[in-house]
Symmetry: C2
Subunit: 305 residues, 2 copies
């Protein structure tokens, strides 16, 4: 089954302690698509300017990303310039030019409206709500958000979460949204307001999946070389939603596996700039990394205990 | 088999967002003993002043902590006063009075010298080395340390780690000691200099166990209420070493289980002030929490993948 994603398609310029990349493919929709397309067909909705290097998106199209919903309009594409310091934990934004993205009004093509799995990447919650008005009873709707919207669009965001099944957000955002320092309490706060599933991402410290009273935790993969953290969260979401779309199974056991696929895809994303690594890998790499995750946390309880 | 611990026995005054405790039992040796004694006999070596409320240690003695190595000398006991802010992540030290601890010179009683498992809690590495000269070929020697010694006693610490099998330290300390930001690289750096096993503790973010090329990760237990983080690391070490001493098994599988026991004991420690919670719990509580850890990280790989 396919997964519909609505998000940004951008050009990133990134500086890390290991190198520099200028005007490379970026944006939540791009990372999500590059990741999810390893697991399921993807339908991408977004907007770019007339300066966008469309040919560079060809590898995504070749892997099954349907770009019928990617508008190209007159103007500049969304550009982000950022830098990571030595610890790679947080990006320092040096410049953001929204360009045509500032007037983005997602139009879901008719053939995408019945997508069973929908991911509303990190955009204005008013637009996320607008997308929900255009789709037809999806099986699972997930959304992402960020500190900016939690602050500036709180009522819209609270309205949005009434209508989604799942929200992904990072630990700082979860605390900001709920005013609960404790993440278990933060997740409960959110679950009382709509989503039955909450994923709290802690970056290099892994991710929690909350569903009813069940809590699952997957560590981040302990890479020796994290090259560029940009897009890790969106690649995580792509792996998660792609796996859910591939299996169509919303059981607790399967959602746990989906989190591991998400963590695996996130761990690939950070090994190179942009979506480079996500374009290189294949099913065997993904299977091997999932097996590594299994070994990473595996222990047997004592028989006699 | 028994485990010997050499560490501080102190009086803590702690303030958290949830309350205050004055002059309660604290210190690395105390937390370690309260934790490890659930799993194995403990031999405690430390020093207190003539002001120490010895009667309050009775519950530990009753649970099998041999205090033949706990000296009481004229003077003030080690006292620490600290505060945790809302996020509970790091203690702010308000006062430290070393008292008799400043002249601590561990004397291992003859009957303790053949202890098969030895834990050198966080004290001056010169004293840790001195303990090693007094014991007879233990099966496993583990040590802890802290930023203060990494800075002020680096040559001694590097000498010490040549002679220990295992070191536990937190992520910040591992980075400080090795000058590697990446924890996998930091662990390798340490393993090249002595210990064959490295445990890097990340507080609320869990703990890594490194042994040869194997990496194991155990999350911290997602408690809804963390009351007082003091002693979590030493309780972790106590659970780990206690489990290793109980089983006498140094296989990779068993060390993984030991990390989970450590994490379980650490998670109990933070539920109350001082060693209160560690004194309340029994085998059924520990088994239940270990089972919870198993559920927390459990996922099955896809059969067909």
């Amino acid at each position: 089954m396919s997964v519909l994603v609505v998000g940004s398609v951008a050009l990133d310029s990134v500086e890390t302690p290991f190198g520099k990349a200028d005007n490379v493919l970026g944006g939540s929709g791009t990372f999500f698509s590059a990741s999810a397309s390893h697991l399921a067909p993807v339908q991408l909705v977004g907007v770019v300017g007339d300066d966008y290097p469309m040919a560079q998106l060809e590898p995504l199209r070749a892997r099954g990303v349907d770009m019928a919903g990617l508008e190209q309009t007159a103007g500049q594409s969304f550009r982000w310039r950022g830098r990571y310091r030595h610890d790679l934990n947080s990006a320092e934004t040096l410049e953001t030019h929204l360009g045509v993205f500032s007037h983005f009004s997602p139009k879901i093509p008719a053939q995408f409206r019945s997508a069973p799995f929908v991911f509303l990447a990190n955009i204005d919650p008013r637009l996320q709500l607008d997308v929900l008005r255009q789709v037809e009873r999806p099986t699972l709707v997930a959304c992402d958000t960020m500190n900016f919207w939690i602050e500036s669009r709180r009522p819209d965001l609270l309205e949005l979460i009434k209508h989604v099944d799942l929200i992904t957000l990072n630990d700082g955002e979860a605390r900001q949204l709920t005013d609960c320092t404790n993440l278990v309490k933060a997740a409960r706060w959110i679950m009382e307001r709509g989503p039955s599933i909450v994923i709290i991402k802690k970056g290099e410290h892994g991710a929690f999946l909350f569903k009813e009273r069940s809590i699952f935790f997957a560590p981040a993969y302990p890479l020796e070389d994290v090259f560029d953290p940009t897009g890790a969260g969106d690649s995580f979401a792509g792996g998660f939603m792609g796996y859910v779309a591939r299996t169509g199974d919303l059981s607790d056991d399967n959602l746990r596996r989906a989190v591991v696929y998400g963590s695996a895809m996130g761990s690939f994303a950070v090994e190179r700039f942009s979506i480079q690594r996500l374009l290189e890998i294949g099913p065997a790499d993904i299977a091997a990394r999932v097996a590594d995750f299994k070994r990473l946390v595996a222990f047997e309880e004592e028989r006699s205990a």
